[in-house]
């Protein structure tokens, strides 16, 4: 493990080298310590041409042309959004979780709107891995999309089998597997895997044992110590983390006393959870700076994306915002390019993990 200080120092050097032209092209500085790129961002250096901004990023060893991805469960497998724009333009398409068997999901009502957010309890409705491989994967491949396949299951064996099947057929299209650990473990009285470090680790070990592509473990913030869970899944073979899943919530009809969701509880998403997600990314990145993070939770605007990057995410998944605007992922990539250009930031890498102590 590389100490955080050293990593920061390395990144500073990398960032400075790449941000060099912005800091003063053609006038090599004799200074031994060029300005921290985060300082450059803060102190408003000269704007550069948006076309000159390098938006590409690396996430757990995967090269992405830009850091904006869909969030699992908010994009289906892309075909519905393709009606509006090319899903291959996303950094990656993180598809709706795939289970071994087809699932019809939970009864309605499945959703309740809350201030700046929404609760959902869908129940992982999906066609099952066999139908997904037959229908959705070829469609995504044809479009040239980079796919992060989200896998879910009720037992370690479920996860293992789905990962095995996807690995056999993924080719160049499935660039990573995301492990949706927010599933009830039937062998542990329905306790959610993500709430237990050993259970999470076991699932990740099973998936990593099958996968030929990087494995991202998607964690929940509904735990006492997310860093402990993060350490456990990384030790079990996770190549990166997706932070965070929805927060468990509830809404009650004040007149009838009924829960608003048929499932009683549901996952809270949307701008309401963004500060929680940014905090989790920052917390885990501070403790485990070498672990790549896909930030997720309520991002909607370019400045939300920048917050996730500064907190330590290498890429940002956009979920609920797509429900309101199917073009949001495409727009955010464009907006991010302009945001960086206006601030003279030539390379996105300069922003990643770039928070400064107060």
């Amino acid at each position: 493990m590389i100490p955080a200080e050293e990593l920061r120092a390395r990144r500073r050097q990398d960032g400075a080298a790449e941000a060099g032209p912005a800091a003063g092209e053609g006038s090599p500085s004799p200074e031994a310590n060029p300005p921290h790129p985060a300082d450059a961002a803060a102190t408003q250096v000269a704007a550069i041409d948006p076309g000159a901004v390098q938006l590409d990023t690396r996430l757990a060893g995967i090269g992405l042309p830009n850091p904006i991805t869909s969030a699992s469960g908010c994009f289906s497998s892309g075909a519905e959004i393709e009606r509006f724009h090319d899903v291959a333009d996303l950094g990656a398409v993180v598809v709706k979780s795939i289970t071994l068997e087809p699932r019809d999901g939970l009864p309605t009502p499945r959703m309740a709107e809350t201030p700046s957010g929404m609760l959902n309890a869908i129940g992982l409705q999906n066609p099952g891995v066999e139908a997904w491989v037959a229908n959705d994967l070829p469609w995504l491949r044809e479009r040239g999309a980079r796919v992060i396949a989200s896998v879910a299951g009720n037992s370690v064996e479920d996860f293992r089998q789905v990962a095995r099947i996807l690995t056999a057929v993924g080719g160049d299209t499935i660039v990573a597997i995301e492990v949706n650990l927010s599933c009830p473990n039937v062998e542990e009285r329905g306790l959610v895997f993500a709430c237990s470090a050993p259970d999470s680790a076991e699932v990740v070990r099973a998936v990593s044992g099958e996968a030929h592509v990087p494995v991202l473990a998607k964690l929940t913030s509904d735990v006492t110590d997310i860093v402990a869970i993060a350490r456990a899944v990384v030790a079990a073979g996770a190549d990166g983390l997706t932070l965070i899943n929805t927060l468990l919530g509830m809404a009650i009809d004040p007149d009838t006393g009924h829960p608003q969701l048929a499932n009683t509880y549901g996952g809270l998403s949307g701008p309401a959870i963004r500060p929680v997600a940014v905090r989790n990314v920052h917390q885990v990145h501070s403790a485990l700076p070498e672990v790549p993070i896909l930030g997720c939770g309520g991002a909607r605007t370019v400045t939300d994306v920048v917050q996730f990057l500064r907190a330590g995410a290498s890429a940002v998944a956009v979920g609920t915002a797509t429900f309101v605007d199917p073009f949001v992922t495409a727009r955010l990539a464009t907006d991010l390019r302009r945001w960086c250009a206006d601030r003279g930031i030539a390379d996105l890498g300069a922003l990643i993990g770039a928070t400064r102590p107060r």
């Binding site: 519905e80 509006f84 309605t108 929404m118 409705q125 429900f323 073009f327």
Partner: protein, 334 residues
């Protein structure tokens, strides 16, 4: 959704299917107990078909999601080169907000969305059954059926006469129209299902289209199924995204194999074969419990706006709704 969106006429999307557009409001008025909002949207007007819906961004406090509105009418010519009307009941914060907009305000709209009513591909008399503001898209449908030279009869029911939508239009468009109100203030006292057998007989209808509260759709579908009359209904279910990605608005519908699966009202519907909906599993009450036909159980907490008439845009995932319908020679693509 607030912010820099001020200019009307900004359109994002492809040359077919749904678009995202900023639209100038050109009318907003009461229609009996309901509201009508009309906006300029050339692409949406050109592409819309009866049964489809639009998703409108609302700026009411503490709202996040768009609201679905059934398309009540479109014009494709005229000063605005294309306009879309929606008719709704202001029963939630989003729909109430829409009643406060001014002429020339700009609203943010996605559409047309969802499956349209399929049009018959052979000569058949058509019975249209509307409940409350659910009647809105049926007038648009009636015009298309008439253009094909088909006979159209209507049943239009609501709790009160004030809640009957478009009575004059109904008379203009149909060979016969039967109004029902629960308080007897207009037409026959009772519900649409009290008269459906009689009207099926008198009109010789070979197909039924219905739009309104779900309990009414169930009652109509069950009558039609018993009489072996094909029935297409535009359902209401709480929607999240309206574009097929959130899986909120599902309806249990039997496929050709008889197996019931959850279909999304926003892309697989909102128009479904009423005989294939599993109403019990969906939790829609049967006839004895049918509430008043004006939006019924929709509490103010539910994402308001008629979660009714949506369409499956071209390029959408092939889904059972269209395929199954295609099996029946009665239906062509609308």
């Amino acid at each position: 959704m607030s912010g820099a969106r001020v200019r009307a006429g900004v359109v994002e999307g492809r040359d077919h299917g749904p678009v995202h557009a900023t639209c100038e409001v050109i009318a907003r008025r009461r229609e009996g107990a309901y509201w009508l909002v009309s906006f300029a949207a050339r692409e949406i007007a050109e592409r819309a078909q009866p049964g489809q819906f639009v998703q409108i961004a609302v700026e009411a406090p503490e709202t996040l999601l768009r609201r679905p509105f059934s398309i009540a009418r479109v014009t494709r010519t005229g000063a605005f080169a294309g306009t879309v009307d929606v008719v709704f009941d202001a029963h939630g914060p989003g729909t109430r907000w829409l009643t406060t907009i001014d002429l020339h305000d700009v609203i943010d709209v996605i559409g047309p969305l969802g499956t349209p009513f399929p049009l018959p591909q052979r000569r058949v008399n058509c019975l249209l059954v509307g409940g409350g503001y659910g009647a809105a898209p049926l007038y648009y449908l009636a015009e298309m059926l008439l253009r094909q030279g088909l006979r159209v009869d209507m049943i239009n029911g609501a709790a009160t006469g004030e809640r009957i939508m478009g009575a004059i239009e109904a008379k203009r468009l149909s060979a016969s129209v039967t109004f029902t109100t629960e308080d007897g203030s207009l037409g026959r006292t009772g519900r649409v299902t009290d008269v459906i057998d009689e009207v099926l007989d008198s009109s010789g209808a070979g197909v039924v289209y219905a739009c309104g509260p779900n309990p009414m759709l169930r009652a109509v579908s069950e009558r039609c199924a018993a009489r072996r009359v094909p029935v297409q209904v535009a359902v209401e279910e709480r929607m999240g995204c309206g574009i097929g990605v959130c899986f909120t608005c599902v309806v249990p519908v039997a496929g050709r194999d008889g197996h019931v699966r959850n279909k999304r009202a926003c892309v697989d519907g909102p128009v479904f074969n009423g005989a294939r909906i599993d109403w019990d599993r969906w939790g829609v009450p049967g006839v004895p419990d049918v509430p008043a036909a004006h939006g019924g159980p929709d509490g103010p907490d539910r994402p308001d706006g008629p979660a009714d008439a949506p369409s499956p845009p071209p390029g959408a995932q092939p889904d059972a709704g269209q395929r199954e319908r295609g099996d029946d020679p009665l239906w062509g693509r609308a």
